[in-house]
């Protein structure tokens, strides 16, 4: 059975907190995503994502604060623009843009976090292994 390798870049203030909340609430979800904590989703460089794909990731999940609520004012807007461009690039490179997902999850949205994780893992399962 193909088990996707997913790497997650979560912002410290919102999504990582939501992940913690999911933990405190003892919600179960699929374990395929390994979390890395960033100060802000805007620290995520396109290079990090591409590097992840070259090193074996089948999917990359980025989590940040809702627009308007970024701890650093507008970091998440920058992330949004960058990921949009990246997705266009990925198409050219022959990688399905759905393998990168940007999601806004606030600190109190533990349930949403679990839902997104499970959804994403399933989606990547459908897309199959990424052969770069």
């Amino acid at each position: 059975m193909f088990e996707p390798k997913i790497i997650c870049f979560f912002c410290k203030w919102c999504t990582s907190q939501a992940a913690d909340l999911a933990g405190t609430s003892r919600m179960e979800y699929l374990p395929n995503g390994i979390p890395l904590r960033f100060m802000c989703s805007s620290r995520v460089d396109i290079e990090h994502i591409l590097w992840a794909f070259t090193k074996g990731a089948d999917g990359v999940l980025i989590g940040g604060c809702h627009p308007g609520d970024c701890h650093y004012q507008n970091g998440n807007y920058k992330t949004r623009r960058r990921i949009k461009l990246l997705k266009k690039m990925l198409k050219e490179l022959g990688i399905e843009p759905e393998r990168v997902r940007l999601e806004w999850i606030s600190a109190s949205e533990g349930k949403k976090f679990v839902r997104v994780m499970n959804q994403f893992v399933e989606e990547i399962k459908q897309l199959g292994e990424l052969k770069v």
Partner: protein, 1115 residues
């Protein structure tokens, strides 16, 4: 060569069970550069921490990883541990293998273990490349801002101030005290709430270290912890609080009543008010809601709400004074104004608009003698006004009030313009016009009748400093059909003028008036009074398009005048030069024309004849400027033959000559002419003084936005005026409308809803001895600098309107807990007697309903509001004390008594006070056919449904965060949870602070709680603030961005990206590169990701580290 120590915590069984710690230890041990691996049950405990210290010492560790719970809990703990052993704290990282691993993958042990290993590995890679970092010391401003002046805010303020630091306390209501001030007695001691709190309030008000800003809100917050810049908006109370001594004389004379928020709308207060007698500061405030619709739509800007309010108090003289501030024609307008104010009156949404014009007439008529006027010092300059209609006279009046010498030149033998020659005296008696003109003359205006002026420019040459043209629109529109010159055809304006000037007019017996405007109606009604046997109005459109006032048309019909719609004359036929008959054609309505009304189209072949001996065509008026000499170069708009003036300054094309009224606008209303005349006066005054004519003229009218109709309004019919009997009217020209009586006017004025709040009537100013009132006082923006902020914004109750099953707020006697507190309070709306809001009777059976809106995840809120069980018991107990023979029934689901002495209190309520407790939810509250309240509930302990008929219901509404919390937290960039309560840093261990450094929490803003807990939390927050202030400097996290100077190309992409302004250019060795201001940098990293040359880095989170972390995770 790195020597990393890895310490895996079992966290009891939290990590130990789902994860095979042994396997983790074994795998990690074999990794390169790992010098020591150890596991323990509770790493954060003392023995656990000692293990780390021992390992550091013995093995000379260069980095430490602790695999444990979330770093938000213990990163600080472990970093302190390693620091004690001499290792830089930033060389210690936490691997979150609990919240983000063991707790969420319990059902997948193999995966959980693998994931834990990966997470730990990623942190090992990170720490390998970490540098020793040292917190950046920032100077901090040791002052605290506290937002919210309830009991929590007050407690925190006193704590910090008593420790010697300055406090800025901002409260949006005029007084501090919050909801606790509204309570009667508090559980479980039944202490009087005011008694225990007012000493603290007074202390806050008098404390030398506390700067109190009430009636203020936070406008803007910028900066960072230790250095916040705050902008506070101090709302204007329109009273200078330094001068106000709280005497209260003003309240007695204020005529405006509004809902009293302190009594939760169970009573009313005046527009000038003090929230409660023990208010701190003990000052009065004027509640202005904006310009009410009536005033905003009045062209003359009359303070409509003001004089109506004064009338409601019987203050006719003061009302007339207020009217005359803006309008010198009250007697005239009180009879003929088209009342745009009434069309906008909000009362029309309840029943009918307030009869504002009739009220104006009453106050004008009540005056028996014209008042003396205090003329201002005379100026040298003189102004000429041409035309003594309402526009000309208003301009003259305006100028005379400023001290100018004004002469009004009037061509006719009598002053008044269209008022005299156009409007018949049965609508506007001549004495009333004379009265208003006499008032204007008292200001020093000279009127020269029989003095036509042809050349305005000549007046300038004769020494007048300015000229105002207000010659009106007195030229008739002609039909332009055959037979117009026949005897018996009298054009309407000419006809009315002759009658009004008492000249002889002969009309026949069969009169037809052509036209549909007010003048046509006036002509028809005049014809009746001159003895015509039959008067018919012929109008070319239908009733809907008729421009005349409804009231006028009604009266005309009453007087026997017939109206023939959809017809127009095409020819007059005469005999021997006298009119004999009129040929008309029928009309039909086509598409709308430029006026928006449907265009009348003649129907081919539908001609018919009417036998008539008199026809009075009254089809419209235009200005007539043919008298102006050509060389005057005064521009005329040819299309309308009207005077051209500038939109804003009303200056004509010739400097020094101004104009207004019908001569500019074409036929319009009296009040519009008055408004233009006043503007003309302002312009002329500016012109004479050599000041810019247009600056600041177009004022932004701050109209009241949302006017909420008060909930309990009883419909009341508008007072009706008496009119003369038709039989008594038609033989004379006496006034038909007899107006309202004094008493009726007062009753009618009381129907006003006071939409604008305070109406600036000025009565309070008259009685304020210290002269503290200033209706022009503006809001003030105050700037302050602080180092820390405590949020104590409190709560509000979920509205009853949201609960449909309980009547959605329709039933007056279904109230919430705070309202019941007010009923119980000695200073409340019923002076402490428990009475029903609807009829004031004492309720003999009261039902208390718990958990309304709380514990209801499907429809409202899932949480418990914590305090309701206790205050419901208190309410029931106090009710029984007030009404010993009354019955109190409490419907509950659980009874939560988790505080000190709480359980004993409830037991006493149930056993001694004999309050009935029924376990079950209430499904519906409604009224039966006898208008009694019925409560449907259940008694789950016996398994029955219950119906209770009662006199009053008190609902325990859910506690929700205070209004406006979302906007405030967005300004401050701090987080709220899904219900709007402020998010604490950690629900268990850090409940008085947020994750954003410098922001602390206290009270119900964070979660529902009772007073002891709120006070405790407030002191907790102050303690944290004092901890911060006890240090020399605030330590700023050193995880900042950095620039590799060799790689930086100076492209500048990163500089505008930084929202904190932490990036700037610097020139080093002739090369321009980017530089990071470490104090301002918050460490988000967005600039780093944007750098195209790879010069951007972040301390201890470089790209090299991130690449390695990614690689090791995916292996």
């Amino acid at each position: 060569m790195n020597k990393i120590g890895v310490f895996v915590c079992h966290c009891g069984r939290n990590i130990g069970e789902p994860i095979e710690v042994e396997k983790v230890v074994q795998t990690i041990q074999n990794l390169p550069e790992v010098a020591h691996v150890e596991d323990y049950k509770y790493m954060c405990s003392e023995p656990g921490q000692n293990k780390i210290r021992t390992a550091i010492k013995e093995k000379n560790l260069t980095g430490v990883i602790v695999g444990a719970c979330s770093p938000s809990l213990h990163e600080i703990t472990f970093r302190r541990t390693v620091e004690k052993e001499g290792l830089n704290p930033y060389l210690c990282e936490i691997a979150n293998i609990r919240e983000q691993c063991s707790w969420v993958h319990k059902e997948n042990k193999e995966w959980a273990t693998l994931k834990a290993i990966k997470i730990i590995q990623s942190m090992i890679e990170k720490v390998k490349l970490n540098e020793s970092l040292f917190p950046i010391g920032i100077d901090m401003i040791k002052r605290v801002l506290i937002i919210g002046g309830g009991i929590s805010g007050i407690q925190s303020a006193l704590d910090v101030a008593n420790a010697g630091y300055e406090v800025i306390l901002v409260e949006r209501n005029p007084s501090i005290g919050g909801h606790m001030a509204q309570l009667s007695e508090t559980f479980p001691t039944l202490d009087c709430s005011q008694c225990i709190m007012t000493p603290k309030m007074v202390e806050v008000g008098q404390h030398e270290k506390i700067k109190l800003y009430t009636y203020s809100e936070i406008e803007e917050v910028s900066g960072y912890v230790g250095n916040f810049k705050i902008k506070i908006r101090k709302k204007s109370p329109f009273i200078n609080w330094e001068k106000c001594n709280g005497c209260g004389e003003c309240v007695e004379v204020c005529p405006v009543m509004m809902g009293n928020e302190f009594d939760v709308n169970l009573s009313e207060r005046k527009a000038i008010y003090r929230p409660f007698p023990q208010a701190v500061p003990n000052k009065f405030t004027i509640d202005k809601r904006g310009i009410p619709p009536c005033k905003s739509v009045c062209p003359a800007g009359v303070d409509v709400q003001g004089y109506v309010a004064l009338t409601s108090q019987g203050k006719f003289k003061e009302a007339l004074e207020l009217e005359r501030k803006e309008n010198p024609f009250p007697a005239v307008c009180g009879r003929v104004c088209t009342h745009p104010c009434e069309s906008e009156c909000k009362r029309k949404e309840v029943d009918q608009p307030v009869a504002i014009r009739e009220i104006k007439r009453v106050i004008a008529d009540e005056e028996k003698e014209l008042p003396e006027v205090k003329k201002p010092p005379q100026k040298e300059e003189k102004v000429a006004v041409i035309g003594s209609g309402p526009a000309g006279l208003s301009c003259a009046w305006g100028l005379a009030k400023m001290g100018y010498k004004v002469t009004v030149f009037e061509a006719l033998p009598v002053a008044g313009g269209m008022l005299v020659v156009g409007i018949p005296s049965f609508r506007l008696p001549r004495e009333e016009i004379k009265k208003d003109i006499e008032y204007i003359k008292r200001w020093g205006v000279e009127i020269k009748t029989n003095s036509p002026i042809k050349d305005p420019k000549k007046l300038l040459q004769e020494g007048y400093n300015a000229v105002y043209i207000a010659t009106g629109a007195h030229k008739e529109r002609k039909l332009g059909i055959e037979g117009e010159e026949l005897e018996g055809v009298y054009y309407g304006l000419d006809f009315l003028r002759k009658v009004n000037l008492n000249e002889e007019v002969k009309i026949g017996e069969k009169v037809v008036v052509v036209g549909g405007g007010n003048s046509a109606i006036d002509a028809a009604r005049t014809a009746v009074r001159l003895g015509a046997k039959e008067v018919t109005i012929v109008y070319r459109r239908s009733k809907v398009e008729m421009p005349a006032n409804e009231e006028e048309i009604e009266e005309a019909v009453k007087e026997g005048i017939k109206i023939h719609f959809l017809a127009t004359p095409v020819k007059f036929v005469g005999e021997n030069g006298r009119l004999k008959k009129m040929v008309c054609v029928k009309m039909k309505l086509g598409e709308p024309d430029s006026s928006g009304r449907r265009r009348p189209i003649p129907i081919e072949g539908s001609e018919f004849e009417m036998e008539v001996d008199t026809v009075i065509p009254t089809i419209g008026q235009t200005p007539d400027l043919d008298y102006l000499p050509k060389e005057s170069r005064i521009k005329v708009i040819e299309k309308w033959n009207s005077l051209w003036v500038d939109d804003v300054s009303f200056e004509t094309s010739v400097p020094g000559i101004f104009g207004g009224g019908d001569v500019v606008t074409g036929p319009s209303t009296v009040v519009e002419a008055i408004a233009q005349g006043k503007e003309g006066a302002i312009s002329i005054d500016r012109y004479i003084r050599g000041v810019d004519l247009k600056e600041g003229r177009k004022k932004e009218v701050k109209k009241v936005e949302k006017i909420e109709l008060p909930k309990k309004i009883k419909k009341e019919e508008r007072q009706r005026v008496k009119t003369k009997e038709v039989s008594e009217r038609v033989t004379n020209f006496e006034e038909v409308n007899l107006g309202l009586s004094k008493e009726s006017a007062i009753i009618e004025a009381k129907r006003c809803l006071s939409c604008g709040g305070c109406s600036s009537c000025g009565e309070c100013e008259k009685v304020c001895e210290p002269e503290a009132i200033d209706h022009n006082l503006k809001d003030e923006i105050i700037e302050e600098e602080v180092g820390a902020i405590i949020l104590a914004t409190g709560y509000e109750l979920y509205p009853v309107e949201k609960i449909e099953e309980y009547g959605a707020g329709e039933y007056e006697d279904v109230i919430n807990g705070l309202q019941f507190e007010r009923l119980l309070s000695a200073s409340g709306p019923t002076e402490g007697e428990v009475r029903r809001p609807s009829d004031g009777k004492i309720p003999k059976r009261v039902v208390f309903v718990s958990c309304v809106g709380s514990r209801d995840p499907e429809h409202h809120f899932p949480y418990c509001s914590k305090i309701c069980c206790m205050y419901t018991a208190k309410h029931a107990m106090l009710y029984k004390h007030h009404v010993p023979d009354g019955e109190a029934i409490v419907f509950y689901i659980d009874t939560r008594t988790a505080g000190k002495s709480y359980e004993e209190f409830i037991t006493k309520t149930q056993e001694e006070e004999k309050v009935t407790y029924i376990r079950g939810k209430v499904s519906k509250i409604f009224k039966n056919n006898n208008n009694e309240l019925v409560v449907w509930g259940a008694d789950t302990l016996v398994g029955k449904s219950i119906e209770v008929v009662c006199d009053m219901v008190v609902l325990s509404m859910a506690i929700t965060p205070a209004k406006g919390i979302k906007e405030l937290t967005q300004k401050l960039k701090i987080q709220i949870d899904e219900h709007g309560f402020l998010q604490e840093a950690h629900p268990k261990l850090r409940p008085v602070e947020t994750l954003s450094p410098g922001f602390f929490l206290a009270g119900c803003a964070q979660a529902p709680k009772d007073i002891p807990d709120a006070v405790a939390q407030a002191s907790g927050a102050s303690a944290r603030v004092l901890e911060m202030f006890s240090k020399d400097k605030y330590l700023h996290d050193p995880i900042v961005a950095e620039v590799d100077e060799d790689k930086c190309s100076g492209c500048g992409i990163c500089i505008p990206l930084c929202v904190y302004g932490a990036r700037e250019y610097e020139v080093k060795e002739e090369k321009r590169i980017a530089k990071v201001n470490e104090i301002l940098c918050e460490g988000c990293g967005s600039c780093v990701a944007a750098c195209p040359s790879g010069a951007g880095g972040q301390k201890n989170f470089k790209d090299t580290q991130i690449f390695k972390m990614i690689e090791v995770v995916l292996k």
